[in-house]
């Protein structure tokens, strides 16, 4: 049977020939199909490779493949020198003087409050502002004298401290210098440059000789302590001069504080007497110090500390503020757009919220510095917000970060609600539920896991954000005083992301600070990883429950 004339194939080859020839592509040994597969596969796997490299470099620059050369090892040596050179000894002494400073600060706080009251009183009596201020200061003169006398109590100790401190830092510097030279020499030896290595000479620091002046100072310290105790006892007998009953009530805690200081003096003295520079430092100190030290102090002439706590506290507080604001906004907007809004509103609001995530964070940060911080301060001056002094603080950064987290939370919440089958909603309405009941009892519970993962990812966004916190958080490295209650939110803080951005440029490559910053980066990375993992787990559960 001859083929019907109307069949005209594009490929005119006979069947046998056509199907026995594999397609060829640009690369001779790959078919077109394989080439396309490898091309897309390479794109997909690229991100895995890059992620792996990032993790690798973070790890090698922070903990290091040889931990004794990494951050923890260096931090251990940092702390060891602190003990061996006698900085630890001097710091015990400084605790005594800072106790006296604490008393002074307590009195200064009371004075400020009284001053404000006096000025207000003066204004009520019809005095001009500067007159009221002068009068108030005059009235407080006896109190000021009292405070001055108190501050002189620390003088004998200070006289002892400053030469000891100088000696200790000198020892520390000498030890560090020797350490560096040793490293240099080792480096030369390893690269077979013996003549260069021979040129590097150093003399081991005699630690015992170095700390001798400290031990020698003990009798004079004991002497000074006796004087201090006597002086404090004297102040106990003469309470600070209060101008009125309110002030007296505010000063009520003073004696308690003085007694407290007197009580710890013997403990400090005991610590000084038993202090031993050769006491071994436990091996884990380099690690625990990073996680539990409450100081992050770099480029200090005294002692550097690399404790993540103040940074973690700052990041956490800002994130909490941001989430407390962003979660209701994002979830509420998601529910509204998905369930209630008219199509017209959906067309306006949805792209607008999604656009927020396209705003460069530095622009938002600029807005925070120039407008929001100033506005909050103004509110405080008008008495709408409680009194605070720092324009850049946790609240300012938190509000802006909330703004940045809203699109993430909104989009994911809306997706989650979209996944709730329409039949649930219909069944609820058919049983006589109103809109609010349907949202609250059916739609939100059914999309709860999605909403939770939205919040988690919003948290991830917030804790990793850098520019806004660098500009708006105030960058003061401290664990804000939690005892202030909600007022803590008006404190300036520093953050984990902010410190990396700020200090990495100045840190010496491969130095301890460099490693410490990478350590913070690694910590952030682990947090983000944990959050993402958690969010994915939650979403998985959600899919099963809908069925």
């Amino acid at each position: 049977m001859s083929p019907s004339p109307q069949i005209k194939r594009i490929d005119q080859r006979p069947l046998r020939e056509a199907i026995s020839t594999r397609g060829r592509s640009l690369v001779p040994w790959l078919t077109k199909d394989e080439l396309i597969k490898y091309f897309f596969g390479a794109n997909a796997w690229m991100s895995i490779v890059v992620l792996g490299l990032i993790m690798l470099s973070l790890y090698s620059e922070s903990i290091g493949f040889n931990p004794s050369r990494g951050f923890f090892g260096e931090n251990y040596r940092n702390l060891l020198v602190y003990r061996q050179a006698g900085l630890e000894f001097v710091d015990i002494l400084k605790k005594e003087t800072s106790g006296i400073d604490g008393l002074g600060k307590y009195l200064a706080d009371v004075r400020l409050k009284e001053l404000l009251r006096l000025i207000a009183q003066g204004k009520r009596d019809g005095k001009p502002a500067d007159q009221a201020l002068t009068d108030a200061n005059n009235a407080l003169t006896p109190f000021d004298d009292y405070v001055n006398r108190l501050s002189t109590l620390g003088d004998p100790l200070n006289v002892i401290i400053s030469p000891l401190g100088d000696a200790a830092t000198a020892t520390r510097d000498a030890v560090t210098d020797v350490e560096h030279k040793k490293q240099e020499k080792e480096l030369y030896l390893r690269s077979n440059k013996k003549e260069l290595a021979d040129q590097v000479t150093y003399q081991e620091v005699d630690l015992d000789a170095a700390v001798k002046p400290l031990h020698d100072a003990l009798p004079s310290i004991q002497d000074a302590n006796v004087k201090l105790a006597a002086g404090l006892a004297l102040f106990l007998t003469q309470p600070p001069p209060a101008l009125d009953e309110t002030m007296k009530a505010e000063l009520a805690g003073f004696n308690e504080q003085v007694r407290g200081l007197m009580a710890v003096l013997p403990t400090y003295e005991n610590e000084l007497e038993t202090w031993n520079p050769h006491l071994p430092l436990p091996w884990y100190k380099g690690v625990t110090d990073f996680f539990f030290n409450t100081n992050w102090l770099t480029a200090s002439s005294w002692q550097n500390y690399y404790g993540i706590l103040p940074l973690l506290a700052g990041s956490t507080l800002i994130s909490i503020v941001a989430l407390v604001i962003a979660v209701p906004l994002g979830v509420g907007a998601g529910v509204y757009i998905n369930q209630i809004a008219t199509p017209w509103e959906q067309h306006i609001i949805k792209p607008a919220i999604e656009f927020i995530s396209a705003i460069p964070s530095v622009v938002l940060g600029f807005f925070g510095v120039a407008v929001l911080g100033q506005f909050l301060l103004q509110l405080s001056q008008w008495g709408i917000l409680p009194h605070f002094s720092s324009r850049l603080n946790i609240i300012t950064a938190g509000i802006l970060l909330a703004f940045m987290a809203v699109p993430t939370i909104f989009t994911l919440t809306e997706d989650a609600i979209n996944n709730v089958p329409r039949s649930f909603k219909e069944a609820s309405y058919a049983l006589g539920a109103n809109r609010l009941q349907t949202i609250w009892r059916i739609i939100l519970p059914a999309s709860l896991s999605g909403v939770i993962s939205a919040v988690l990812l919003g948290f991830g966004r917030v804790i990793g954000e850098t520019m806004v916190v660098l500009l708006c958080a105030g960058n003061s490295i401290q664990i804000p005083p939690m005892s202030d209650g909600l007022m803590v939110l008006f404190q300036p803080v520093h953050t984990m992301t902010g410190i990396i951005a700020q200090e990495l440029g100045e840190a010496e490559r491969g130095g301890i600070e460099w490693h410490a910053l990478f350590m913070v980066g690694l910590f952030l990375f682990v947090i983000s990883l944990g959050i993402n993992f958690l969010a994915q787990r939650v979403v998985k559960r959600f899919k099963i429950s809908i069925g």
Binding site: P343, S423, A427, S428, Y429, A430, L431, G432, A433
Partner: protein, 283 residues
């Protein structure tokens, strides 16, 4: 989602016979009072007209079946009866009225929430909430602020017995409703609908997603329920309409073609289209 275009028919095996009442008994019941009066209703999805001048009464405490090919408007009409179409964007009643007990339910003064409590609904696809069996049944009561445990317990047992599900689930009331089989889920949805004690129950192809055995159970349930409730059922399955309804209405292309006692429709229809459909010549 357009409920007026239901999914393809599902083939179903003929279930066991249910004892038919005597003809004289049936005739007497067909004279029951009217509860829903559908009056020249035109209905629109946006610009397209889905229902054309529908006009007939639904009798109290009888089972009325709506039959017809896909897209004929039977589901649309059903969803007009408790205003579920309000949830669909762009729908409206163009002309006519639907009166339940003499009240026009599309009047602005009507409380839609209360209407839906009195006119319950069972959907084509069983749709229990992702909650426990117990919470599914009491959902309607909780909406009304009833939280007394004894009252809820009592309702759960009564409703589940009413839906012939009690014996199967009494030991696992607090496990997830999504763990039930398809047929059990559909009966749970019926239990949920009768828990709020409606007067009318609308069923939108309640058996189309069920296997034959589950279908038999639901049909037996419909027989029990008509003692207490007026039931309107949309079905694709003509045997089902024949087995469980007293009155059958045949729709085609958005128009009511014929309505009569079920036996008459199936044995001696007056319209040619009805006969063609019933005998399977189209649809």
């Amino acid at each position: 989602m357009d409920e007026s275009k239901p999914s393809a028919q599902t083939a179903e095996v003929v279930p066991t016979k249910v004892a038919a009442p005597s003809p004289s008994d049936k005739l007497a019941r067909l004279n029951a009072p009217t509860i829903i009066d559908i009056n020249n209703v035109d209905f629109y999805y946006g610009a397209s007209k889905a229902l054309h001048g529908i006009n007939f009464p639904i009798k109290n405490k009888l089972v009325t079946a709506f039959i017809g090919p896909s897209g004929c408007g039977k589901s649309t009409l059903l969803r007009c009866l408790n205003r579920m179409n309000d949830l669909v964007e762009g729908t409206r009643i163009g002309a006519g009225s639907i009166k339940i007990s003499g009240v026009d339910i599309y009047d602005p003064s009507v409380d839609v929430i209360e209407l839906r409590k009195r006119v319950g609904m069972v959907f084509q696809k069983s749709n229990p909430f992702p909650k426990s069996i117990y919470e599914n049944v009491v959902y309607g009561l909780r909406l009304q602020g009833i939280n007394s445990k004894s009252r809820l317990d009592e309702t759960v047992e009564r409703s589940l017995r009413g839906a012939a599900l009690w014996e199967e689930v009494r030991d696992r009331l607090h496990t997830s409703a999504l763990g039930l089989s398809g047929g059990q889920q559909q009966r749970l949805c019926i239990a949920r609908a009768i828990a709020v004690e409606p007067e009318i129950i609308l069923m939108d192809e309640p058996c189309s997603a069920l296997d034959p055995i589950a279908t038999v159970k639901v049909e037996e349930l419909i027989h029990q329920l008509k003692q207490d409730y007026t039931i309107v059922i949309v079905t694709h399955n003509m045997q089902q309409a024949g087995r469980c309804s007293d009155i059958t209405a045949f729709f085609y292309m958005g128009r009511l073609i014929e309505i009569d006692a079920t036996e008459k429709i199936f044995t001696n229809p007056t319209q040619k289209q009805t006969e063609d459909y019933i005998s399977g010549r189209f649809g």
